[in-house]
């Protein structure tokens, strides 16, 4: 059974923000009134900037500031689809014939991004490429769905990333209890002795990049492999698939797999970049009641949206809708030093102290308590019995320190 359902209905309008990565905004390559095709590059800029492509064929109706799921309003290209679904010609390549620089160039031109970081900037020479097959947070299942639906594409994508970094080995970290995904990936990688799956016990934060790589490396060292942290490149399942699409299909990144929860039919869908959250939610049967909160990406670190007209962008992997009963705001109580936050902190910090210092404006003390090591995973605020918004206070202090 397919895990991912593509959204085929053409939306009434598509909003493509010119900024879908960390850094400067793209400049539009089209103007109002132009007709664009699917896959056409519509925004680009100086080096280090990641191009964006149209996910629809139709007419550009406006170029204006629009809501963005992660930032404030961002200059966006608004396209009214004409329903023709006209594609530009995709130029497929055989990656085994390509040089390292050529692959990096193709990945850059395809606009592949991962948590805001353009992937081509991550492809420095490494010995090992590690793919993160664990889903980072509760309700998020897009990585698993991708592995079950596109195992051979992901293995090819991994090989492309290995070639682009010069790595000789590839690992895919998968939740140890998910034998279905492990078997599927093992079967797909059966011919390739350099690619292995690594079963890992999933804990929420282990899915985060920093900790994930350490966990894989630790396990491999324990099994006698010689591997060091410095020579690894960590990437995601989604990136591997995007790399496959870019090189083997010639297709830029114009679609993303989104786990949709809290709707009538919770599922994984493949949505075109620029589709509004409302369109995606309607595809999944619509809201279950009166929505109270709409969160993009996981419940632990995701951003709450103020409107469902926000477009899906490249880095959207999840949508979570909460209703009155889940979105209640508890009253904040004084900290009782219970140290539950200390026990869960993956960065070995004292979150309650950081929050207290931040609350009093003592940013010098925040620094002394290593605030910069915080990865903002949200576990401290999740367990806090006093319901103190620890992460919010820490983020605030980090902004001040900058």
């Amino acid at each position: 059974m397919r895990q991912i359902e593509p959204i085929t209905k053409i939306p009434e309008k598509v909003i493509i923000p010119l900024q879908q990565h960390v850094g400067a905004e793209n400049t539009p390559l089209v103007s109002v009134g132009d007709v664009v095709k699917i896959g056409q590059k519509i925004g680009d800029g100086e080096s280090g900037i990641l191009p964006v492509h149209s996910s629809a064929s139709g007419k550009v109706t406006a170029i204006s500031e629009c809501p963005h799921p992660f930032y404030e309003n961002v200059l966006s290209i608004i396209i009214e689809p004409d329903g023709k679904d006209a594609y530009i010609e995709f130029k497929a390549e055989d990656y085994s014939q390509l040089e390292r620089e050529q692959i990096i160039g193709i990945i850059k031109e395809a606009g592949v991004v991962e948590s805001g970081i353009p992937v081509h900037t991550k492809l420095s020479p490494s010995d090992v490429v590690i793919l993160n097959g664990m889903d980072e947070a509760p309700y998020m299942t897009s990585n698993r769905a991708l592995m079950l639906d596109f195992p051979s594409e992901i293995i090819d994508g991994l090989k492309i990333l290995m070639k682009a970094t010069g790595a000789s080995r590839g690992f895919i970290g998968i939740d140890a209890s998910d034998s279905e995904a492990i078997n599927t990936m093992n079967k797909a990688a059966v011919d390739d002795l350099n690619i292995e799956t690594v079963p890992l016990k999933t804990t929420y934060v282990r899915g985060m990049e920093e900790f994930f790589a350490k966990a894989v490396v630790k396990r491999e060292i324990s099994r006698g492999h010689r591997i060091s942290n410095a020579s690894t490149m960590t990437s995601t399942i989604g990136t591997a698939r995007a790399a496959y699409d870019a090189v083997c299909m010639g297709k830029p990144l114009i679609e993303t797999v989104v786990s949709v929860w809290g709707v009538k039919k919770s599922q994984n869908v493949q949505a075109k970049i620029g589709t509004s959250l409302r369109n995606v939610i309607e595809h999944c049967g619509g809201y279950k009641g009166k929505p109270k909160k709409i969160v993009v990406n996981g419940p632990m670190t995701g951003m709450a949206q103020y409107t469902d007209e926000v477009p899906v962008i490249k880095d959207v992997h999840g949508i979570l809708v909460q209703y009155e009963e889940d979105a209640t705001m508890a009253e904040i109580q004084p900290c009782i030093n219970c140290a539950k936050c200390v026990d869960v902190c993956p960065a070995n910090l004292l979150p309650n102290m950081l929050a207290a210092f931040a609350n009093k404006g003592r940013f010098d003390m925040c620094k002394r308590y290593n605030i910069s090591a915080c990865v903002e995973c949200g576990k401290c605020a999740y367990v806090c019995p006093s319901k103190i918004p620890i992460v919010q206070l820490i983020k605030c202090a980090k902004e001040w320190i900058k």
Partner: protein
């Protein structure tokens, strides 16, 4: 459409401070019941006076002096109960009354209230009473309310540990400290396991507010309590040793935390 925005995380664990305080009260219930059974009405009067005085003192200070809402966290009840359990059965009722008011007013509110106190409030009340009225507080041969079979207290302690309401490192290292040191000093360690000791180890040394945050610090705190308890108990009264050792270790808690910070995990 009216939707709200807020900072992540968007899900929260179903615990709250009130639940934790209720947990401690529930954990004390078996001990209170046995104490009432063994010592009867005088025990009942002491417990009620102590709890009522603590609750009223807390409410009055919050409402009339600080002009804040009357607290509903229930922590004053715990203070009252712990203080009552440390008293002798034959004390006049003004002893728990003064003790509880001192515990709340000086032990807690003077430091900034719930969450800000340095010393365990019940122990502050107890210490003041012990200094001021030694004749009432050290009646030889008269039982304390907490002088009940220790296993009754252990039932409550097991509940607290199971629910994760207390930092387990503290009782563990406290027990280890006491057992090792008393094995070195004396041949017979059976006198250790009295009610006051179990109450101290599991209910007073584990008060979250006054004990270290850091993981290593919790072990140091526990071992420190253990050593001080045995030394004091060796030369003086063992039950008093439990109380003073916890108070002393409370005073160095911020210091322990300052020096026992773990090395942060940084990528690379």
């Amino acid at each position: 459409m009216s939707i709200i925005v807020s900072a992540p995380p968007h899900i929260k664990k179903d615990t709250c401070t009130k639940k934790m305080v209720c947990g401690v009260i529930i954990a004390l219930l078996p001990a209170l019941a046995v104490s009432l059974y063994l010592f009867g009405l005088p025990a009942m009067a002491i417990i009620l006076t102590s709890v009522l005085a603590a609750v009223c003192a807390e409410g009055a200070i919050q409402k009339f002096i600080l002009k804040k809402a009357i607290p509903t966290d229930g922590s004053a009840i715990v203070t009252g109960l712990l203080l009552a359990l440390l008293l002798h059965v034959n004390v006049p009722l003004w002893i728990p009354l003064i003790g509880a008011v001192v515990a709340i007013a000086i032990g807690k509110q003077a430091f900034g209230g719930y969450g800000s106190n340095i010393f365990n409030p019940a122990l502050v009340g107890w210490a003041v009473l012990t200094m001021a009225w030694p004749s009432h507080m050290a009646s030889a041969g008269v039982a304390r309310l907490v002088d009940i079979p220790p296993f009754v207290l252990l039932v409550g302690a097991a509940f607290l540990l199971y629910m994760g309401y207390i930092k387990w490192q503290i009782p563990a290292s406290y027990l280890i400290g006491v057992v090792f040191l008393s094995a070195l000093l004396t041949r017979d360690g059976s006198y250790i396991f009295i009610g006051a000791f179990i109450l101290g180890v599991f209910f007073m040394a584990t008060d979250p507010i006054t004990t270290p945050l850091t993981k290593k610090g919790r072990f140091i705190f526990g071992i420190g309590c253990g050593i001080l308890t045995v030394i004091y108990g060796y030369y003086g009264d063992y039950a008093e040793g439990v109380c003073y050792s916890i108070l002393l270790m409370n005073s160095v808690t911020p210091l322990i935390d300052r020096f026992m910070k773990a090395k942060p995990f940084v990528e690379g």
